[in-house]
């Protein structure tokens, strides 16, 4: 047993040290996502006389950069993470403050979530915050004097403090979707850390009260409230979000069993669903690839989660397990929220679909998340 650990540890930079099925799942999603981004933008760009491959090229570039970041993440030693994490966390918090400063942050769809960079690139600090919070909380919660000791209330409070500041800053944007995803990860990690059960129950209650209060007190912008309203009652159509959700459902529903064929979807090519290369990318899959293709995508996510849970269970220490749980919670809730939204199961929140949606920051963060999983895997028993 110990030999195997040594072997893997010694060769973690080698391809064979990765969880191949996890790589397969992520790779499959990236390939499909690239095709969907291309399908969702080529006709549109062509009709304006622009380069139809514009989004395809940028998306591919994002994947390459993300892949390098992920590879780098797998190489980092646990001990070094301790050194890096506060820096990442601090960078994320500063980024989240910058986006709120008028003139520096860019508002898209009612949320001030982006920092514009030269060259048309935009950074979304909230994505970096996800990683900082997951790694940071795992460090605090796993930092025990004795191996079998469960985290104390003080430990939990410390961990929550790490999450609280970024969450509050994201609430201020406001980006409710990301807040919910991070909250899900926080609750999952505290639950898995062995902390007293009252914390899990208390946090869930706090989340419900928090959402309710945010809507009531106007901490959430009218835009976000409108999105919630149109989920409850699609015929009320504040700011045309009902239109978007209806179009989205129709586009997916019209795909049928086999779909219209890649690049052949009339709804997609007519761009009836706004944001179809980012938040609504799943509608392109629904229309053009049909039930078979969309199910394949769900199956790849399923495979990803099965492998990620396996990595969790085999993790050699609590830290690895918590990182793993945090990443799973993040991916799973974000996937559910996004796909659920396109199919009318969830209210409209502006979160991208992991590995499929176009968008640099999100792609980088997602792939770093995969890098973290592989890192844990490499150190597992």
């Amino acid at each position: 047993m110990s030999q195997s650990v040594k072997y893997r540890s010694a060769n973690r930079a080698v391809f064979g040290g990765f969880d191949k099925l996890l790589l397969l799942a992520v790779g499959g999603l990236l390939v499909i996502g690239t095709l969907l981004v291309y399908a969702g933008t080529r006709e549109w760009f062509r009709s304006y006389g622009l380069d139809p491959e514009y989004y395809l090229k940028r998306h591919t570039l994002n994947i390459i950069i993300g892949g390098l970041l992920a590879y780098g993440t797998t190489l980092i030693d646990y001990r070094l993470l301790r050194a890096y994490t506060p820096i990442v966390w601090l960078a994320a918090v500063i980024g989240l403050i910058i986006v709120l400063i008028p003139g520096l942050g860019t508002e898209i769809n009612g949320a001030k979530a982006w920092i514009s960079l030269p060259g048309g690139f935009q950074l979304q600090p909230a994505e970096m915050a996800k990683i900082a919070i997951i790694v940071g909380m795992s460090m605090v919660l796993a930092d025990r004097d004795q191996v079998d000791q469960d985290p104390s209330d003080i430990d939990v409070l410390k961990a929550l403090a790490i999450a609280a500041l970024p969450i509050l800053l994201i609430v201020a944007q406001p980006d409710l979707g990301t807040v919910l995803i991070i909250s899900a990860a926080v609750v999952a990690m505290i639950g898995a850390s062995g902390a007293p059960a009252r914390w899990v129950v208390g946090l869930l209650l706090a989340a419900i009260v928090g959402v309710f209060a945010a809507v009531q007190t106007g901490a959430v912008s009218s835009y976000q409230v409108a999105r919630l309203q149109s989920f409850v009652d699609p015929s009320a159509d504040p700011q045309a979000t009902g239109y978007q959700l209806r179009q989205s459902r129709i586009t997916i529903g019209s795909g049928g069993l086999l779909g219209k064929g890649l690049f052949e979807g009339p709804q997609t090519n007519g761009r009836f669903v706004p944001e179809q290369q980012t938040d609504f990318i799943f509608t392109v899959a629904g229309e053009e690839l049909g039930f078979v293709g969309s199910s394949l995508i769900l199956a790849l996510y399923f495979l990803l989660f099965i492998r990620a849970f396996a990595i969790c269970r085999r993790s050699s220490d609590l830290f690895g397990r918590l990182v793993c749980i945090g990443v799973i919670a993040w991916f799973a809730f974000q996937t559910f929220e996004n796909i659920g939204m396109t199919m009318g199961l969830m209210p409209m929140t502006g979160v991208p679909l992991p590995f499929l949606s176009y968008g640099g920051s999100s792609m980088f963060a997602n792939l770093i998340g995969v890098g973290l999983l592989q890192n844990v895997h490499a150190r597992s028993r």
């Binding site: 639950g191 039930f291 397990r321 559910f336």
Partner: protein, 706 residues
Amino acid sequence: MSLRSRINLIVFQTLVFSLMFALFGRLFYLQILENDRYQDAAISIQSRDVVTPAVRGAITDINGIPMVVDLPGLVVSINRIELDKQQDKGVSVLSKVATLFGLEYADVYQRTRLCGELPIDNRAGCWNGTRYQPIPLVGSASQDLALKIMENADLYPAVEVQSIPIRSYPSLENENAAHVLGYVGAVTDEDLKNPEINYYRNEVVGKSGLEVEYNQYLRGTPGVRTFLVNRKEVVTKQDKNIQAIAGNNLITNIDAKLQAGVEKSLAAAIMRARASGFRGDSGAAVVLEIKTGRVLAMASYPTYDPTIWQKGLTVKQAQDLFSEAKGVPALSRPLQGLFAPASTFKSISVVAAADAGYSLNASYNCPAFVEIGTRTFKNFGSQAAGRIPLDLGLAISCDSLWYQIAYDEWVRDGGLKPKSSPSDYFFKAAKAFGIGLLTGIDLPSELKGRLPDRQWKQNWYEQNKDFYCNYKERAKKADLTAYLIEIARENCLDGNKVRAGDAVNFSIGQGDTLVTPIRLAQIYAAIANKGVYYKPQVARAIVDADGKTVKEFKPEIADTIKIEQSTWDFLHRGLRMVVTRGTAAGVFAGFPVEVSGKTGTAQVFGRNPNGSPKDDTSWFAAYGPTDDPQYAVVMMVSQGGFGASTSGLGVRNIFETLFGVSGGRVDPTKAIFPNGVPNTIAKVDLRKVAAKVDLTDINGDGVKKK
């Protein structure tokens, strides 16, 4: 890992997998279970249909002469896409067009807006099609004005002149036939909901007459070009292009020349009635072929000019069509005019009397009046004719001999305490001739008429007893006269019973009996044909553009009345006597063809809007030639006065047209059917229209060549 951590991990894992299964389930629901619904929704989002109406089939007369035909009309339309590209959004162009055609700018503006662009309360006149269709502004532009636009295209950007089919009435024999032909109109929301026919928004459909009865054949299939559009309504590609298929032609049994003659005769009869001081408010005339039931002509007065439909109806014109003051020209009197048949009913009374055992060869007393109970029933004109043979009684239209017979039979049936199975010879005879039933003519909106038999009385009583039994409270002040109060008292007491007065009135076609002119024509056709009568049929055949018969309408026997041959012989003798020695002898004096008929002068209760009592209904029901009856002819003039002088003469005029009579002599070459009513299906010849309407300067696309 602690046990609790392990359990928490399992709970968490279960939760994550459940979320994935939820997504999968929802995906299955949307894409597999509800696929059809979303597929439809997607198509309506992506595609825009541009519909080209099919050329609607022509309606011709029995010889193939077109009475209704689609002609290419010059339509001035606006291209909205081009209009919107102009700097002032087309304001100056639209005002120039308005000036050119003498239209209000506001109307032109309104007309060129899509309905969706206007507030809900201000959509009158808006365009209910799409932006991609040309929006018609002027339905039938004169060539001069159309040319002005075509030749100065630079002055009128976004204004187009096109040719589209317009329903036209060439009236080649000067026929009107508006009520038979009917009219077309825009598709309604109701039509669009019809699951059987896939109508398009800018189609026209039949609204009345033959146009609605045979709409499915005349309509054809509209051409549809389907464009795919994107979210900004920019056309991305053409998806389908289905060519329009012209509708089939309808050949009718109407003879256009005869129709014109019948219309003229009817109008003349009404003018004659008015000249004699009668109101003569409306009328109808029908010519049936006795041995087939074919409707050879059918006229209604007042009528209207069917071309108002092709030009687009103004509000005033639409109101006039239904205006009481104008005599409600929209009503088709032959089918919808309900009147007491009066003495024309006596032919049926003869059948009843024969059934009841009365000798048709005996003589009967025709006194000046008959006392029945407390009421006195006067003979027409209060004159006594003494004891006369029954055929003469029919010829001079004696009422009082029927009073006695009807009263005696009523008493025999038990009077006010009727037997459990009364003989009811009069009701039964009327029923055999179809009174109270539809003739089943192939035109919409026919009314049934009324047979006031015992069952009808009972129903009537149940509906009205509350009113009559509380007459003093319910009636208007003005109606509280001693006479009306007495009638109300009687109605309350035994209004459900057939009373002596009812039976007596029934025998001479008065009282509550109502018939339509088409029904009476069918009755006299039945008499002439010894009981075998046919469903009146206007349509002869449906033929396609190549002249191939799609559907032929064969004569259909409606019913057969079985009575003694001697009764038919008596009726034929008596009805001939009407014309030779009886009430119609004067108006038919010197007529060279032997015809038979019966006058009717029906009393009408009630008052005109100006308070004057209503004049009598003038009827004449006839058939001819007497020996070999071919045609049944009926004329009715409401408030027309005497049967003979108004309608009798009118029917004579119709027979003159039919047989080609002029100057007291028959000229067979001038007869409508010198060789009998044709049995072959005619060829539709639309060139006959071209000869009358100049179509030479219109090419295939409808735009005049320079």
